[in-house]
Amino acid sequence: MPQKRISIRIDGELVSTVEGKTILEAARDAGRRIPSLCHMDGLTDVGACRLCLVDLGGGGRLAPACTTPVQEGQAVITNSPRLLAYRRVILELLLTERNHICSVCVANGNCELQALASALGVTSVRFPYRYPNLPLDLSRDRFVLDQNRCILCTRCVRVCADVEGAHVWDVKGRGIYSRLISDLDQPWASAASCTDCGKCVQSCPTGALAEKGKAVEEMVKQTWQVTNAAERKRAVL
């Protein structure tokens, strides 16, 4: 079915796109990067991290670009002092909520959270660090889950459920007590539904899910491979 072409304005520039795309996709097609963390190409968007919030004008509430479809005549502001201020606050809150110690992290230098903080000029955190006491799950042979580094983006949850079809991961608890769990909140090694495919590890934007045996800075995620797998699967279906 041919898709209807529509026009929207992104930061003042007239952009031609097609109905059904999200603002995030349309902006990227037009060469504009909107900061995001929980979005991953190939996965269903959930609007969890709020970094891609954009201004739809009229003084109304902000909308996540990853879950807001484009509409004819829409005027989107993707960057402004107000948006930057919110994005910085989000990153600072993520950094205080768990123990993100970049210098000793397997993903140091290859971490989407660290890279975004750098790109958006977060050089310090104004909120008191919580330094929570969080566990590691080392039970599995090939992979590690470090709750200290999890930002609850749920990319692992979605890739496991939608692409691998196993749905090992889920989130328990609420708010600041939310935790990633495998199967029925049991050690990862005893999660019978896990196929050991590693898609969750490659999808994780930080060092929360990593391959065992990697030292500091060694964990480079092959996110594109998961995206390819997801798109192949979508094409087949």
Binding site: L95, N99, H100, I101, C102, S103, V104, C105, N108, G109, C111, Q114, A115, A117, S118, A119, G121, T123, S124, V125, R126, P128, Y129, Y131, P132, N133, L134
Partner: protein, 179 residues
């Protein structure tokens, strides 16, 4: 403002850190010569001054605040310095020293100095400053004027900040990252 030709008083301070940030200062290479032209290093682990002097123009502070001694040292650095720069991740975030924060100090001491000791088990009580319950970043104790994250911070970023301060400009931080 610092008059032309006059040297500014530069200090560097080492709290709870590994001294890697100071190594990064030394890594300015020949850049350190242009700093030396405009600044006198009046206090630092690299010089002999015992007391932190009055009237310091710029203080670069490495390390988290982990002990009572760190906390009181930092207070006098703040009181006696015009510009205070948090140098490196420990000063900015707590970083590695803060990895102990989830454990009670008593438990750490027990593990290290009693269970972990081959000879003379016992928690040192004299000659060492008592630890605070947690190691925390500088800005939770005093006002910090500039943050220079990194573990260690890039020498180019240190030089850029120092060059701006020496020229009497407000420092413009180049792109930096934690870690």
């Amino acid at each position: 403002m610092i008059a032309a030709g006059e040297k500014i008083k530069l200090a560097t301070v080492w709290l709870d850190g590994c001294s890697g940030c100071h190594m990064s200062i030394l890594d300015l290479d020949e850049g350190i010569l242009s700093v030396a032209e405009r600044a006198d290093l009046v206090y630092s682990p690299l010089v002999d001054t015992v007391e932190f002097p009055e009237g310091v123009d710029v203080a670069l502070v490495e390390g988290a605040v982990s002990s009572l001694e760190d906390a009181s040292k930092l207070q006098s650095v703040r009181a006696r310095s015009r510009v205070l720069v948090a140098l490196g991740d420990c000063a900015v975030t707590g970083n590695v020293p803060a990895m102990r924060n989830r454990l009670p100090v008593k438990q750490i001491m027990q593990r290290l100095y009693i269970e972990g000791a081959d000879v003379n088990p016992g928690v040192p009580a004299s000659g060492v400053p008592p630890l605070l319950a947690q190691a925390r970043p500088l800005h939770e104790f005093v006002k910090v004027d500039f943050y220079l994250p990194g573990c260690p911070p890039d020498p180019k970023a240190i030089l850029s900040v120092l060059t701006d301060v020496l020229a009497g400009r407000a420092p413009k931080l180049p792109a930096v990252k934690f870690g």
